[in-house]
């Protein structure tokens, strides 16, 4: 769909939710309610649940939920097809955060399709490229060690609060040029937006975030610095300055994307590390293989999903999709597709290199992927150097957060 970036309009397609809103073209036998992100079976062990979807559910089915009905794709091959075919599977309106229809804006570049999409990405790609993020590596190592200094003598910590949260969020806020001392407030906002599953709370939180970010943008316009918010506020596109809504939509999207995903990823990985001492030893014995180790850990601990809107009637895997239908690629399930990753639940650091869907694919592939990978790599290396032996505190029940970024609420560790 052609959209006008200077005149943002809400999408015409409406969300549907619940059993009484199943469109007539959906075959009955393809209707399921898996309870992804909120059902008790899912929350008990989300990644095991998603691995087991192969065999339990058809490869492409229609998921009915009180939070929104959508086609669900769990095959690696289908995810590549859907996510790389932006003309049929559009990102417009795919971001689930409710916005004021009278003051609508696009999340940039997430909701913008090519060729405009590339122009926005060019503004920040240097910062987020593999080479760009390397500039942050030494300060990441310092920060990791400072956080470890604070806890190492205690012999225990809640990993989520002591490390997984402050580590990536501090790096991200410094990179953006936003105040690190507001970490707790920002995180509260992100959690309310991403994990409440309540549209009113989401809408209210988005308003709060908007007021703050608009102020921060004005401040950067007046006092430029070398942070990403300032870079966006002063960027030109097509030879013109960006509009206020473009700047806001761009900054807001990065802000939401940067606060919760690496956090959840680290929590998932550390839970696994804590429960698998022999595999930890295997990793430490082969430090030169860290990139492959990390990629494999990302494969089995992916935290998010990619939703799209079908723009025209389209047949996929013999199933008729209609314009306006929503479709969600369950990326963690795709990463357990046995056709691409044999023995998918086995963590194998010597798999042949394949496309892992941790950061999605297609033009909307995660721009923070290189930052995230480097953060996770540095965190693993520095932590294992200083706290090589650790385990989950005895008696702990791991409880997962509902919502669109998968990870445990708390992770108490002892060593």
């Amino acid at each position: 769909m052609a959209i006008d970036v200077l005149n943002p309009k809400p999408p015409v397609f409406q969300r549907v939710a619940g059993m009484d809103q199943i469109p007539p073209h959906v075959p009955k036998e393809l209707v399921h309610s898996a309870g992804i992100t909120f059902g008790p079976d899912f929350l008990k062990a989300p990644h095991a649940f998603m691995a087991e979807m192969h065999g339990k559910y058809p490869p492409l089915y229609y998921d009915v939920s009180p939070y929104g009905n959508a086609w669900v794709a769990i095959k690696h091959e289908d995810a590549l097809h859907i996510l790389r075919n932006a003309e049929v599977f559009s990102n417009e309106g795919a971001t689930p955060f409710p916005r004021d229809p009278d003051d609508y804006f696009y999340f940039i570049p997430q909701e913008i399709e090519p060729p405009m999409h590339r122009k926005y990405r060019n503004i920040v790609d240097q910062v987020f490229s593999p080479q760009g993020v390397l500039a942050l590596e030494s300060q990441m190592r310092v920060l990791a060690n400072e956080l470890i200094d604070d806890i190492i003598e205690k012999g225990e910590c809640d990993f989520t609060e002591s490390f997984a949260r402050p580590f990536p969020v501090t790096i991200f806020l410094r990179l953006m040029g936003l105040p690190v001392e507001m970490t707790d407030t920002f995180v509260e906002w992100a959690v309310a937006l991403l994990h409440s599953n309540e549209r009113q709370i989401m809408a209210d939180t988005l308003k709060t975030i908007s007021v703050y970010l608009k102020g921060a943008i004005e401040e950067k316009k007046a006092n430029p610095d070398d942070g990403v918010v300032s870079r966006i506020a002063h960027a030109q596109i097509d030879g013109r300055p960006m509009s206020d809504k473009e700047i806001f939509g761009f900054v807001a999207f990065l802000f939401i994307g940067g606060l919760d995903t690496v956090f959840a990823t680290l929590n998932n990985i550390w839970l696994w590390l804590a429960q698998n001492p022999d595999r930890r030893a295997e990793m430490m014995a082969a430090p030169e293989n860290i990139n492959a180790q990390l990629e494999e850990l990302l494969r089995v601990h992916s935290v998010t999903f990619s939703g799209r809107t079908v723009t025209r009637d389209f047949e996929l895997r013999g199933v008729q999709l209609k314009a306006g239908d929503k479709i969600t690629c369950i990326l963690p399930a795709c990463n357990f597709d046995p056709e691409v990753f044999p023995n998918p639940t086995v963590v194998d650091f010597h798999r042949p290199k394949k496309i892992v869907l941790a950061f999605t694919v297609g033009v909307h592939s995660c721009m923070g992927a290189h930052l995230a990978r480097l953060e996770a790599k540095v965190a693993i290396q520095e932590w294992l150097k200083r706290i090589p032996e650790f385990s989950v505190k005895p008696g702990t029940e791991i409880v997962y957060r509902p919502g669109g970024v998968i990870g445990p609420h708390h992770l108490p560790l002892v060593w």
Partner: protein, 108 residues
């Protein structure tokens, strides 16, 4: 700075300047050369910047630089050939001025 020529599957050639230290995938993206996608941004994670190094450059640049690159080329959509490379892994150097790469019909 060196010249890189990107030859599309239909034979159309585009020559652009690519800075030393910059990779051949980015050279295409920054200059609106179609045919290279590079969706992961150069992270050796997607195989959508696949190219065939011209035979004249095969000796210097026709072989994957790492095991990861070699394996990931198998995930590319277009057929693998003797000089298949991921263009994000070809970093421009004065010695490569005049490099010619051929692009596959599709990256998806």
């Amino acid at each position: 700075m060196g010249k890189v020529t990107y030859v599309a599957a239909d034979g159309a050639a585009t020559t652009v300047d690519v800075a030393d230290g910059e990779n051949v995938m980015r050279g295409a993206l920054y200059n609106d050369v179609e045919g290279i996608i590079g969706e992961c941004g150069g992270g050796l994670a997607c195989a959508t910047c696949h190219c065939y190094v011209d035979d004249a450059w095969a000796a210097q640049l026709g072989t994957p630089a790492s095991k990861d690159e070699d394996e990931l080329i198998d995930s590319a959509s277009a057929e693998r050939r003797a000089t298949s490379r991921l263009s994000c892994q070809i970093v421009m150097d004065p010695a490569y001025d005049g490099l010619v790469v051929h692009m596959p019909e599709t990256q998806y």
